[in-house]
């Protein structure tokens, strides 16, 4: 989904950010950024805290004034409009429900401010949509976290905004409820068909819900694409590590033949498809070969002869194994990478695969991706965990 050049329809609900940036004194929160969110899509801004994703969202809402650049909603330039004149609504982190008003009045707030007198029907319909009809006369503090979250969504959606902005809307919920609300939000979005822009630090959340994800790091968009595209074809180590886990092998280009690049790493050879290398490969040049842990098969060294030809292979010794139920996660020490992670489905468990065992790791060369070697291999690692205040 290369959206930057997409044409826009009149009065549409697409969001166009052009050269938008935000600086606070010496600190640059958002570097000049071009981004188009297509109408009707569920778009996620994904990144660790402080990466500029919330600032970007707040600039769309009008709660933050951009240092440079413009914000367009459809054909309308809203850069100079205050938040209360923009046809967008926000679901705030920790919801910001009005504590002195009951649920009904919270949801009716936006309609009343626009001078709409008969709000009853709309409010009741909206409370039905989020399944809170019974709670209309309660105060926000009398509701559970999940219910408050749904009030926040209803309060925003009732105004039929062109774009709904969600700022870490599920951050305060526990895991089980979060899963449930992810599906719920997705259902609502499909039902109302409004453009959703969703800010989150949770890669799983972004991948589950969004049609399109922009991964942000240090005030810049690292990569933009569908969840599957980002996962399978990361273009930077940050994206490769932030979305799931990746193994990296520092390799040298040995030769190129047709669509394949042959890499030299440790003593062995690895094959990388040219289409999956994000940097041009010249013989003798360095490249980072990456592979996802679930793509790798593990065979005991005694059975090495049974591995089919044409697969990338590496030898090593198991240092750790942990049984997860559906799979077993191994850490393998190999000459090219000291802690290779391998996830093996628990179909036919080989009892010999225990710490200390000599093994061969092998995978389909099509699952190898090549990245620029001049970057930090550990970029984006663990930032997922140290999150949100």
């Amino acid at each position: 989904m290369k959206t930057t050049e997409e044409t826009t329809k009149a009065g549409g609900g697409d969001v166009r950010l052009t050269g938008i940036s935000k600086t606070y004194g010496d600190f640059t929160a958002v570097h000049p950024l071009d981004l188009t969110v297509p109408e009707g899509s569920f778009f996620a801004l994904l990144g660790a805290s402080g990466c500029g994703k919330t600032t970007t969202l707040r600039m769309i809402a009008g709660l933050e004034e951009p240092t440079a650049g413009t914000v367009h909603l459809g054909d309308q330039d809203v850069t100079a409009l205050p938040p209360y004149k923009r046809p967008v609504n926000t679901v705030f982190q920790s919801y910001a429900l009005f504590p002195h008003l009951d649920i009904y009045e919270n949801v009716a707030f936006g309609l009343r401010r626009r001078g709409i007198k008969s709000v009853k029907k709309q409010v009741e319909e909206m409370l039905e949509l989020v399944q809170l009809g019974e709670q209309a006369r309660k105060k926000p503090h009398q509701l559970s976290g999940g219910q408050q979250q749904r009030v926040a969504v209803a309060r925003a959606l009732i105004n039929h905004p062109k774009v709904l902005l969600l700022d870490e809307p599920l951050g305060a919920l526990d895991l089980k409820l979060r899963r449930q609300m992810q599906l719920e939000l997705k259902r609502i979005q499909t039902e109302v068909g409004i453009t959703f822009v969703h800010v989150t630090h949770d890669q799983e959340e972004a991948m589950t819900m969004a049609d399109c994800v922009a991964v942000m790091n240090a005030g810049r968009v690292e990569q933009l694409g569908t969840p599957a595209d980002l996962y399978e074809n990361p273009r930077t180590t940050f994206v490769a590590n932030f979305l799931g886990t990746s193994n990296f092998i520092e390799a040298e280009v040995d030769s190129t033949s047709g669509d394949d690049i042959v890499l030299k790493a440790g003593g062995g050879k690895l094959v990388l498809h040219r289409a999956r290398a994000s940097v041009p490969a010249a013989t003798g040049g360095k490249i980072l070969a990456g592979v996802r842990p679930e793509k790798i098969s593990l065979t005991h060294a005694d059975d090495a002869g049974e591995i089919p030809e044409g697969r990338n292979r590496i030898t090593g010794r198991i240092t750790e194994s942990s049984f997860i139920g559906v799979s077993t996660q191994f850490v393998v020490d190999s000459p090219v990478c000291s802690d290779f992670e391998v996830y093996v489905q628990n179909i036919d468990r080989d009892p010999r695969l225990a710490p200390g065992a000599e093994v061969v790791l092998h995978w389909n060369p099509a699952h190898t991706f090549g990245l620029d070697a001049a970057q930090d291999i550990d970029a984006g690692v663990e930032t997922v965990e140290e999150e949100v205040a």
Partner: protein, 266 residues
Amino acid sequence: MTFVNWFKRNVVVMAGLLTLAYLLLPNVVVTVFSFNRPKGRFNYQWQEFSTDAWRDPCGVSGLCESLGLSLQIAFWATLGATLLGTMIAFALVRYRFRARGAVNSLIFLPMAMPEVVMAASLLTLFLNMGAELGFWTILIAHIMFCLSFVVVAVKARVMSMDPRLEQAAQDLYAGPVQTFLRVTLPIAAPGIAAGALLAFALSFDDFIITNFNAGSTVTFPMFVWGSAQRGTPVQINVIGTAMFVVAVALVLVSMAVGNRRRRQKA
């Protein structure tokens, strides 16, 4: 053993009751002596039951005039201090300006300074300015010392207020004025009300500063003090009891209203 257990279970309740008794005993004495018929000019010894004073609360010359004046001053001082104090509190919490730190600590000065000192220096100031002592000098003084209490009460409330609530209001099409009236003010209201009540009580009660700056004007506390030199009329107890009853009644009514509203909503 059983006594020890009983004691353990009820010690908190007993401590609470004792504290309550300590607080209420003076009020009880005031009330009881408002039904006294004293011999002579001093109402310090129980003689016999009578409702004379209750039937004629304004029977002592000057008493009801001083009470009216005190209520008037307390009303205007509360209004002035609450308005100014609320604005100061919002400014201190919400905005970063030059001398904000200084204002933040100087606002406590009237609370910290001995009242007598403040009273004397205010008098010096008024005399040097050639101001005529009376209603206006008392009012100015009262607004001044009530201000710090209002600021403290409102500031605590505004500080604990999530700024995202106002952003949410703006996001939901409320302009600056609507945001203030519909969200900011209602949420800050309990703090403002607490500040106002405190200001009213302080102003109505004040003797020292008022005494210095009143000129020939007489407020209720000054009247009580003045009459205590020559004999205490029972009507003072009547007024005191009435004030207490009105205050308790207001609290009960507001609690009842709150309860009913909660029950209706549930």
